[in-house]
């Protein structure tokens, strides 16, 4: 058993705060989010500067995706209680975004003539953009804080 897992077990036994989002496997998640923050933001920057008029909607969405990845990376890397909440919001938006843009780009290709990081569920990035928010939500659930006292009359 690795030390971080033992910490997690102890936390569960004592009912104290859960594991931090930036520890253990969370470090890998932050690394992947960081790469996507870099990739999506840089891509959006190039698109917006060099050919914004070609597909304004797609490129603005690229920029939004980049921003969401940046927020998720920073909040997961900080791993505080407050940052967990922001991370949850960012990752939920990310999931909605990749599913919506992915579906629209399949149904109505004219609406998304230019590739974004979320086009066809992130096919250009090995579908990692589709898997990443699911892993993010699973990780937030896995590391959720435990209430110090169990609430009376529940479960």
């Amino acid at each position: 058993m690795d030390p971080s897992r033992m910490r997690g077990v102890r936390a569960q036994q004592t009912g104290s705060a859960g594991r931090r989002t930036n520890s253990g496997a969370g470090r890998v998640l932050v690394a992947v989010y960081g790469i996507f923050a870099l990739a999506a933001t840089a891509r959006a920057g190039v698109q917006l500067i060099t050919r914004f008029e070609e597909a304004p909607l797609a490129y603005v969405l690229s920029a939004v995706a980049g921003l969401i990845y940046i927020v998720a990376t920073i909040t997961l890397a900080r791993g505080t209680r407050a940052s967990r909440r922001l991370a949850l919001i960012a990752i939920i938006i990310e999931l909605i975004g990749v599913v919506t843009v992915g579906t629209l780009s399949v149904i109505d290709q004219e609406a998304f003539p230019r590739a974004t990081v979320w086009s066809v569920y992130g096919i250009g990035y090995g579908f990692v953009p589709l898997v990443l928010p699911i892993l993010g939500l699973a990780w937030l659930w896995h590391t959720r804080p435990h209430a110090p006292q169990p609430v009376e009359g529940r479960g």
């Binding site: 971080s4 496997a25 470090r27 690394a31 790469i35 870099l38 891509r43 190039v46």
Partner: protein
């Protein structure tokens, strides 16, 4: 970009990915040799980015100039950031962090090979 150098980066990065996975499976943090290897990969990657920059300054114009420059900078900064991030908390996941960065360098270098065609 020099094709032979790019394929060298791809091969070195591929080994780096596997090495990271192996140490993670063995439940060990990256050892000294692995960290030196990552530094070596970084050195070759930086040399390639510098050579490509020299060619661009010398007048070579790839089709997607801005994207190409972004990739050349990107591949040069990934390994150092991953190195620092992997060393803050040293355990099996440090190897995976290095593997993820090496995989990104590998994928981006392959993409650069495609991008590196003259405009016009």
């Amino acid at each position: 970009m020099i094709d032979a150098l790019a394929y060298t980066v791809v091969a070195l990065a591929g080994v780096g990915v596997l090495w990271g996975i192996v140490t993670a499976i063995a439940n060990k943090p990256p050892g000294k040799a692995q960290l030196l290897y990552a530094a070596g990969l970084e050195a070759v990657t930086v040399v390639q980015s510098i050579l490509a920059a020299v060619k661009i300054i010398g007048g070579f114009r790839p089709v997607e100039l801005a994207t190409t420059i972004g990739y050349l900078i990107g591949i040069a900064i990934l390994i150092p950031i991953a190195w620092l991030w992997a060393n803050v908390e040293r355990n099996r996941f440090s190897g995976i962090v290095l593997a993820v960065a090496a995989l990104a360098v590998l994928a981006m270098t392959l993409r650069l090979l495609v991008l590196w065609t003259p405009a016009g």
